[in-house]
Symmetry: C2
Subunit: 494 residues, 2 copies
């Protein structure tokens, strides 16, 4: 069922208040990755508790223990566990968000103070750290609850909130909390589905991540999207060891087995310039493409020129839209990231490095698992190394692994999200899978076994994690309507 008109009217009339709420939230510099800001992270938790309690939510802080950061032992910010509604006849939806932010200094290149929300009336942008990632989306839910509270309307579904304050710093303690709080009469008991409105988890504070076109933001800046899949990852370190110390190429060049020679040969056997993975077995584990799924890529509002614009050149492996989309969303990829232990500085050094480690990762898709791919990679590299007849030694380490995640977009949770999007934006959203990993999605999917929908509020060009992060006012307000409408559609979806 659609949201009552009164809710939509309330949102239209109170947009000024909602912006003030976001301004207050942005003014609390809840940077989780810097010990100096830890108190502000706690302040942000208290701010949200007060806001949630004011609109009728029962709130509990879940203590996640301690961490050591910058040489100091610090209390981890709490997970905020909130509940509103307990009607056995209604569905219960879990809403996840995070209240910590990436670091930001004006000197990084911000045009305005990052922790002061600046309303640019001309462009319609709300500029400030956390505006889109993830304070705007979290407050969107609170705006909806406020509407119901002020209008004395009953919520169409029961809601549980799990809001964490360490998402930008590895979600420390969250996995343990989710496992501890599942099962009968625990917090996560009785949840029917989940919705995550945010941007990204695994894409942390690295400059090269400030690229549009990512995650469950809109695929472009035109068409809304809903994300139903994420790739997993296996990250490998391939060590080739030779002499006990680095050698001079003038003295030893030609008489010794050089680890770099072996390593570049091994790395050259992983993937073709067109991106075809050469490791036997890896592609065999990819789930077959169905006609339905194939058609989904054809309908996506996306063009090669979109991605060429971001890349700064004609650098895609194919000029076919569907191929490029599928390579990103539903096929594995292998990237070679670099080499540790070799000469990497500018200039010319005539060293034979004694101990070098190649780093590469494979993005995984169903039905690949980190365990199965690890076996393929290790067997293949050991075989290829044996062919080299080198006297150096090889060691292959799996640095970390995470499974891919795909939800069924035919689930009523998605139908509700699609319907809500159509109502609010007048457009059928693109159903997308994304190329990166969001560990917290996997945490909930695996621990709770429920359907999870990734619903975006912002746009592809919001610059989360970047300087001058923004959320369009229209996305904040229409997005709030979207969240409210989603709850009503959820109530009746089947």
């Amino acid at each position: 069922m659609p949201a009552p008109n009164a809710i939509i009217d309330y949102i239209n009339k109170n947009s000024g208040k909602f912006v003030q709420r976001l301004a207050k939230a942005v003014s609390i510099p809840s940077v989780s990755g810097d010990a100096a800001y830890r108190e502000a992270v706690f302040d942000m938790a208290k701010f949200l508790r007060d806001e949630l309690e004011a609109v009728g939510v029962t709130v509990r802080f879940a203590d996640l223990g301690k961490q050591v950061l910058d040489g100091k032992e610090l209390n981890l910010p709490p997970a905020i566990l909130g509940s509103i509604g307990n009607d056995k006849n209604k569905k219960t939806v879990l809403l996840y968000g995070h209240y910590d932010v990436q670091p930001a200094l004006k000197s990084d290149g911000w045009y305005t103070e990052p922790f002061t929300l600046t309303v640019d009336n001309e462009s319609g942008r709300l500029v400030g750290r956390g505006s889109t990632d993830d304070k705007g989306p979290v407050l969107g839910w609170i705006n909806i609850l406020q509407a119901h509270h002020d209008l004395k309307l009953e919520l169409p579904v029961n809601i549980k909130f799990c809001l964490e304050g360490m998402e930008e710093s590895g979600s420390e303690g969250l996995d343990e909390l989710v496992v501890a709080e599942r099962g009968s009469n625990k917090f996560f008991d009785g949840i029917d589905c989940a919705c995550i409105v945010w941007r990204r988890a695994s894409f942390r504070s690295t400059p090269y991540l400030t690229i549009p076109q990512s995650d469950n933001y809109w695929l472009n800046t035109r068409t809304p999207c809903i994300t139903y899949g994420l790739r997993g990852i296996v990250y490998f370190k391939v060590n080739v060891r030779g002499a006990g110390q680095d050698l001079h190429s003038g003295v030893f060049g030609g008489l010794v087995h050089e680890p770099m020679t072996d390593l570049v040969i091994l790395l050259s056997k992983l993937v073709t310039p067109l991106g075809k993975i050469l490791i036997p077995g890896v592609n065999d584990l990819v789930a077959p493409l169905t006609k339905d799924e194939r058609e989904r890529y054809e309908t996506l509002d996306y063009s090669i020129s979109d991605v060429e614009g971001v890349l700064g050149g004609k650098l895609t492996v194919s000029s076919d839209k569907e191929t490029v989309l599928m390579n990103r969303m539903r096929y594995p990829s292998l990237s070679i990231h670099g080499i540790e232990g070799a000469f990497s500085a500018p200039g010319a050094k005539t060293v034979i490095p004694a101990n070098v480690s190649g780093k590469f990762s494979i993005r995984l898709v169903p039905d690949q698992t980190p365990d199965a791919i690890e076996v393929c990679v290790k067997e293949y590299l050991m075989q290829e190394f044996a062919k080299l007849e080198s006297k150096n030694t090889l060691e292959i380490e799996l640095i970390h692994g995470g499974k891919p995640w795909v939800a069924s977009p035919d689930h009523w949770n998605y139908r509700a999200a699609i319907k809500a999007t159509e109502i609010v934006y007048g457009q059928t959203p693109d159903l997308t899978r994304e190329g990166g990993s969001i560990p917290v999605v996997l945490t909930f999917a695996e621990a709770l076994g429920v359907n999870i929908c990734l619903l975006p509020m912002g746009r592809a060009d919001d610059g989360a994690h970047s300087t001058n992060e923004k959320l369009d006012l229209s996305n904040y307000i229409e997005g709030t309507k979207l969240l409210g409408t989603y709850l009503y559609e959820l109530a009746t979806a089947q």
Copy 2:
């Protein structure tokens, strides 16, 4: 003719004085690579001028201009040009050495103060920075001149000295000086041959260079050697450029041409794990091995276990002594040094580097020239890159190049050096070629066109450029006798 007994007696009786002279020289911290020590480098030049003048040498300081170092404009230390003897009936020999040293701090791991010569009576070692590289050898010549001066003996040959104070810092200004001072009535006019007693020039202040088995030191610590050849070098930077910025592998992995993929494939096509260079044309330019030359390697006092000891493992590409020696001395080698622009730190970063540069170098031997090899390398890499059908762009830069050098070991200059070694050490020296480059040798060889002999004073384990650099007292004193004897043998050699 052998050196007069009086000279040998004088050296034996005055070894204490010679050690004091070395102690005085070591106490002047003439570090050319650090602006803070520049005055000491000038002090060292004055010390040598005084020592040379005291034994009858006419000395001139050649101004080499200025340099910028650590942000300061500094006067370059002078080249010391000295002459003694002008007898048209005698040969004239050019003696090159350098009076600057590598940096040294006790905290680097020295057991004693680096700029205080410590005489270890038990081991017979003279420990201090510059003892073997190159103050001991330079003072060896002065010791010989002092013997002649004190004994009022005429020198058997005319001598010209060229001593520089910038050898450890790129020999700045020397090339220009040598070119400016050649030709009739210039300083370098009338030189018949040259002798260089030192260790190395191109092997500068890098920790991985502190390896025995190098250059014109003894090939091992047992048998004296004389060096008649050095390999040249071409150093390449292969740039592969993709997107305008680094990309995230989750977002772009699979849809874009990745520069690292292309680069490792290119680098894998350069050389086999056994060291065979795969670039067409490169091996064709290697001068054929003659029977005479082959026999020379067979007679060298060297074993695979010598090199395995240094490497810390059984890592040689062959277990055949002659093959290993020839790979080092008379065949080219190709080493891959590293990659600039890729992820090189510890840890796991999921970056697709946008702009990566592979660095490799080829050690050259006659009849290879940097110009000819540059053509082979560029043509080959461009062809191989074209095969990749990549949309990235390739650029190949030659960073620097230097020709190989080989002198005729059948020249009378070498016969004199061999004879002198046999007289002083009672052993026929190993005739070796070395794997590295010494630019100054090429400077003199090309500018003056005379035969140059590289005669060592120290041993393979002296640790020049390293902590606890030493010169064995026996090598200093017997080495002084060797230099004197060489001058007499030179006088009559033909």
